[in-house]
Structures are given as C-alpha cells and as structure tokens.
C-alpha cells in the first residue's frame, strides 16, 4: 500500500474491519414475533441490521452485540444469546 498525499481516505472503507469479532452475545431474531417496525435497523449503532428477503437480519460481520436492538424491539422479538465461537 502506498500512502496518499495528505492521508486522504476512500469513503465507507471501514467495512474492511469486521467488528463482529468484538461480540460476546449475538442477537437472535424470532421472525414470527417481528412486526417489521424497523426500529432495530434505525437504532443499530453499526447500521448492520437490514431487511433481507423481507426479514430483519443482523449482519454478523459487524454486529458488536450491544443489544440495543433487543432492548428497543417493541415485541421482544430479539434475544441476546451467548455466542459459542
């Protein structure tokens, strides 16, 4: 890698860092309870919960396991589970 003049950086390039490695607890979504309010997506600090084929799914590459989504889910459809690695 050659350095850029004035240390300029490309947009969105933190994606190469998979912060999922920080995680202890992993969010597990019960899609039957989900009412698709999208609050989990809105509040996620990692911007890593998205609708995939109509279901809200956390991207475990980046999810730090903070549990904000589980706390904010109005239907308690997300459970934080100790992750076995």
């Amino acid at each position: 890698m050659k350095l850029t003049v004035a240390a300029l950086v490309e947009p969105g390039s933190t994606r190469i860092t998979k912060t999922g490695a920080w995680r202890t607890f992993v969010p597990v979504v019960d899609h039957k309870k989900c009412i698709k309010c999208s609050l989990c997506e809105i509040y996620c600090p990692e911007s890593c919960i998205h609708q995939v084929d109509g279901l809200f799914v956390p991207d475990l590459d980046y999810c730090k396991g903070c549990s904000v989504c589980a706390h904010e889910c109005p239907r308690k459809a997300i459970e934080m589970v100790l992750e076995e690695k």
Partner: protein
Amino acid sequence: MQNLFAPGHRACAGCAMPTTVKLILDAAGPNTVVASPTGCLEVVSTPYPESAWEVAWIHSLFENAAAVASGVEAALKRFGKKDTNVLVIGGDGSTFDIGMGCISGMFDRGHNVKYICYDNEAYMNTGVQRSSSTPYFTHTTTTPAGKVSFGNPRPKKDMPAIAVAHRVPYVATASVAYPVDLRRKVKRALAIPGPAYIQVNAPCITGWTFEAGNTIELSRLVVETCLWPLYEYVDGKLGEVKKIRSKKPVEEYLKAQGRYRHLFRKEGGAEIIKQIQAMADANAVKYGLLD
C-alpha cells in the same frame, strides 16, 4: 433508510453517536459535506487508511470545525454549488467550550452551515472530564464525587440560548431516542437559509456508566423526566415542543447511571435529587412540556 455512515467504525458497542450520525445523514442525504472537530466521532470513524464516512468529510482541529465549515461553504458558494449541505457534527467539548469563538463567528457571519452537537455531557474521548455541558452534580474524572463533593459544581451551559442570542434562525434540541423528530429537525434546519444549531442528547456508556443496551432507553428517559426538553426556536421564538404525556421522576433517570451513584449513597444525596427534580419541573413550566 440510506446508510451514509458505514459499519466497521470503532465506536464502543451500543454508543449513541453512530446512530445519531446515521440519522442526521439519512435526513441530509449524499449531497453533503461534513466538518467534524477532533473527538470520539473523528477517532472512531477515520483511522487511516479507513473511513466510515460515505459523504465528503473533513477534520482539521478540535476547536475550528465551525470556521472550517465557513470556508467550505464560502468555496461551494463561489463555485455555484449552493445546493450542497454543509454540516458540522461535533461533540459538546468542542461545541460548548473550546470551539465557542469559531461557532460565534460562524453564526454571526450568517453562514449556511448547520451545526449539530452530539451531546454526551463531558470529554469522553480523553476519559470523561467535565465540560461546560456537564449537568449539575455529575461525577466526572475532573469533578469527582467525594467526601466533600457532589460532583460538578456548575449547571449545564445553555448553548441553545446562546445560539438564539446570535439570531440563528433555527435552533433545536433533539434526542437519539426520537429518530423521527431528529430527522425532521435536520430537514427543517436545512430548509431554512442561514446557520442552524441542533443539540442532540447522545448517552455515553463508559462516561455515564450503564449497560450498553440501555442507550436509547436513557435518552428517552431524560426527555420523559423533562431534564432534556425537546423544543425548537424559529427566528428567536419558541416553536414546536415535544409534550410529555406522563412525566417521570428524575430519580428513575439518575439511578440508571453510575455518574449519579453518589446521590444515592452519600448523606445529603436526597436533597440534591430534590434540586435536580426542581430543575426538571422548571423546564416543564418554561417550555410548556405538560398539557
């Protein structure tokens, strides 16, 4: 929801700041230039050669983001790019304290710059030291609670009032727990020509000491206790105010955070909590928060 703040950033798990930034950028859209001061946001989002920013972004120094944004706006104007949004997104230390002179100048010159402060009420990046945004009786590392101290001996500086005094046409407070309100306020600020100031409550897990998952809940609670009224000032007049349906006692908010632990353990703490309750009650009256 458009995502203009990429994952992979290094903010603490459960930090309110990335959510705040994501919501601001969702409202502003990609035709935006952001200037940020030194601080948590800058550090977690731009470790060279990486950046979480999907919009054009510049960081120069701790205290000059408002001046840098002034120059950005002037140059964009010069090049006929008046449609590009120019934002500052910075923390309370750079806003309330060290950047005050540059902010005053930017407001005074009437630049079309929207200054948004994510307010976590202390210098978190350097280890939770007091800023002039730190509320009364808060434990920080430079205003610690102790045998003869109940924490910060001074009230929180009224920064929105200072913005209003500069005749800033749009001034508002917001909370990360109220995303619809926050996005609407950013959009409204962008629609009104000239400077704007928006102060967003953004809890800090390590500085306030609470469980990571409670971030949003705490920012909701501070609003529901009337300690953080949500309001707008348009052209110097109090505009829309977020009404509180069932006002919660401040104790509920205070006891959820380590930075107020001393109020529940120390003799005389109950009296201090009463004083804080009185501040919340005064806010409710001043801004007409209750029906």
